[in-house]
């Protein structure tokens, strides 16, 4: 059976849900960030699949933007995490119950 667009969409949905589970279930803030990266990657696959389907390259441009935003998010998010770790000596989200110092 030839690969169809639906194959890619189902795969991307499964990937997205895997990332969502990581964000919901894990306590380690670093692994939660990785879940966000998995979700972004799933979205990128959908963009590329539809770009191929519709035959224009706007989807590829979106993926490039997504890459840049993911890089910015990772840099800022990890910097904030390092700062929280300096204050709390932990990356366990269950301990971040308050935003006060």
């Amino acid at each position: 059976m030839a690969v169809t667009l639906t194959h890619y969409l189902v795969l991307a949905t499964a990937l997205f849900l895997t990332g969502a589970v990581a964000v919901l279930v894990r306590r380690n803030a670093l692994v939660m960030f990785m879940g966000v990266e998995i979700m972004l990657n799933a979205v990128n696959i959908v963009f590329a699949a539809y770009s191929r389907q519709l035959g224009d390259l706007d989807g590829h441009v979106f993926v490039l933007m997504n890459l840049a935003v993911a890089a910015a998010e990772a840099a800022i998010g990890l910097a904030i995490l390092v700062e929280i770790f300096r204050l709390r000596r932990s990356v366990d989200v269950d301990e971040f119950k308050t935003l006060m110092e």
Binding site: A2, V3, T4, L5, T6, H7, Y8, L9, V10, L11, T13, A14, L15, F16, L17, G19, A20, V21, A22, L24, R26, R27, N28, L30, V31, M34, I38, N41, N44, I45, A48, A49, S51, R52, L54, G55, D56, L57, D58, H60, V61, V63, L64, M65, L67, A68, A70, A71, A72, A75, L78, A79, I80, L81, V82, E83, F85, V91, D92, D94
Partner: protein
């Protein structure tokens, strides 16, 4: 051939993503995530997007994940002691509800759509570097410039956060 490669890369991407989410050790999780991102580059190549496949490996699996590994090794030992104790089963089931609902909705939606055949491979429309650059620096020039501003803001923000307490610009 394409089918075989799709299932190979798709299974690799999904399996390594699941391993990343379930592994207790953050360093191991990061390495699995690198594997997942690298095999999804294969999917991009299958979708006639060679530029994206290369960038996925260079930027995502390369640069971003190196940043992750640096921070993990800076912050903690490999394992978080709190994650060794398990959550109570009812709470786990409750947490599993939204993803399960997502699976049901996605499958129902896919069944409704049916199998949409993918447009055949057309070398004249493949996302090579020249063609993507044409679109990126033509129609989407403003978005391109705005993304560079986002990256600049991110750099400045990360630098400001990385400073010592008494050297903060806002103090």
């Amino acid at each position: 051939m394409e089918t075989v490669l799709f299932y190979l890369f798709g299974a690799l991407t999904l399996a390594t993503a699941v391993l990343c989410v379930t592994s207790r050790n953050a360093v191991v999780a990061a390495v699995w995530l690198i594997a997942s991102l690298a095999s999804s580059a294969g999917l991009f190549a299958l979708l006639s997007a060679p530029l994206l496949a290369i960038l996925q490996i260079l930027v995502y699996a390369g640069a971003i994940m190196v940043l992750f590994l640096f921070v993990i090794m800076m912050l903690q030992g490999p394992e978080l002691p709190q994650e060794r104790r398990r959550r109570p089963l009812p709470r786990l089931l409750l947490l599993a509800l939204p993803p399960a609902a997502g699976v049901v909705i996605a499958l129902a939606w896919a069944a409704r759509l049916g199998l949409i055949p993918l447009a055949p491979y057309d070398p004249a429309r493949a996302g090579t570097m020249a063609r993507v650059a044409d679109v990126l620096l033509g129609r989407h020039l403003l978005a391109f410039e705005l993304v560079s501003v986002i990256l600049l803001v991110a750099i400045i923000g990360a630098l400001a956060l990385g400073r010592r307490e008494e050297e903060r610009p806002w103090r």
